[in-house]
């Protein structure tokens, strides 16, 4: 359980960037989209988003909504897109390598 939490924290950044690359999303929407796929403490999303904005991987803009307060939308920047391409590549590579390692272990059993 604890290990899985650490895994999720690590890939949260990747998931968030993938989602906002598809379309601009606001915080709550993003939390829902992520929770659809992985169970994660949604609170961690906001500090992460702040960091992404600070690192210039995405920008924010406000949009009035009919229900509730104005929504803060997140939009990926070109810099963020480049970064995302890199980390997706690295992630795939990493997963393949780890799977290979596990498979290799099974052969000896």
């Amino acid at each position: 359980m604890d290990v899985s939490v650490q895994f999720k924290k690590g890939v949260l950044e990747l998931c968030v960037l993938v989602l906002i690359q598809r379309k601009d999303q606001y915080g709550y929407e993003l939390a829902q989209s992520i929770s659809k796929h992985i169970e994660v403490a949604e609170g961690a999303l906001y500090p992460l988003l702040r960091r992404l904005v600070n690192d210039n991987y995405c920008t924010t803009y406000l949009q009035e909504s009919t229900e509730g307060p104005p929504r803060k939308y997140y939009r990926i920047t070109p810099h963020g897109k480049t970064y995302l391409t890199n980390i997706v590549f690295e992630w795939k590579d990493f997963v393949t390598n780890v799977s290979n390692l596990i498979e290799e272990g099974n052969e000896y059993e």
């Binding site: 403490a41 500090p47 702040r50 929504r71």
Partner: protein
């Protein structure tokens, strides 16, 4: 836990980050609650989904810590009297420690010389033969024993070199750290 409790935990514990940031994050969480409730969730449900607020605080403050570190440091060095005392203190510590270090290194150099001498002792038989035209078997064996001792000393030299180098390096680093940002907690 309801919305108010959740937000007040964040509010009271997020003191080490800047006012602007705290407000911004709190607005984020507040609107998260609002949107969740619009979607028919209870405050408790949303709080549960957001996760342990204390864990969250730890994460946020932890993040800030690494980012704001340089800022905190520059702020520390502003205090001039404090710096003066740190330099005076360092000066006295160095007056004691630096000669000690030099002494240790000199000892090490001595050890090196001894090792070199022991290892090269058979070569001394050559000049003796040239000058005195004598050759003693006992001296040859003694010098071979010298090589053995030299090899053992070589190991000691390497070990002490590493130890001394590490010690000197960390001492220098400590000095620089102290003079740059004051004595760390």
């Amino acid at each position: 836990m309801n919305k108010k409790q959740y937000l007040s935990i964040l509010q009271t514990h997020l003191t080490s980050i800047s006012e602007v940031e705290r407000k911004e994050l709190l607005t984020d969480y507040e609107s998260h609650f609002t949107y969740g409730m619009h979607n028919g969730k209870t405050e408790e449900q949303i709080a549960h989904e957001l996760g342990d607020p204390f864990e969250l605080v730890r994460e946020i403050v932890g993040d800030r810590f690494t980012i704001q570190d340089p800022y905190v440091n520059t702020k520390k060095t502003v205090s001039i009297p404090r710096n003066i005392f740190i330099y005076i203190g360092l000066f006295f510590i160095n007056i004691v420690i630096a000669p000690l270090m030099i002494g240790l290194w000199s000892g090490w150099i001595g050890l090196c010389a001894g090792t070199l001498g022991a290892l090269l002792s058979p070569l001394l038989l050559i000049p003796e033969y040239i000058i005195n035209h004598t050759f003693s078997m006992a001296k040859l064996f003694a010098s071979i024993a010298g090589i053995g001792i030299g090899l053992w000393l070589l190991i000691a030299v390497m070990f002490t070199y590493k130890g001394l180098l590490n010690m000197s390096k960390s001492y220098l680093k400590w000095n620089m750290n102290v003079s740059r940002k004051g004595i760390s907690k």
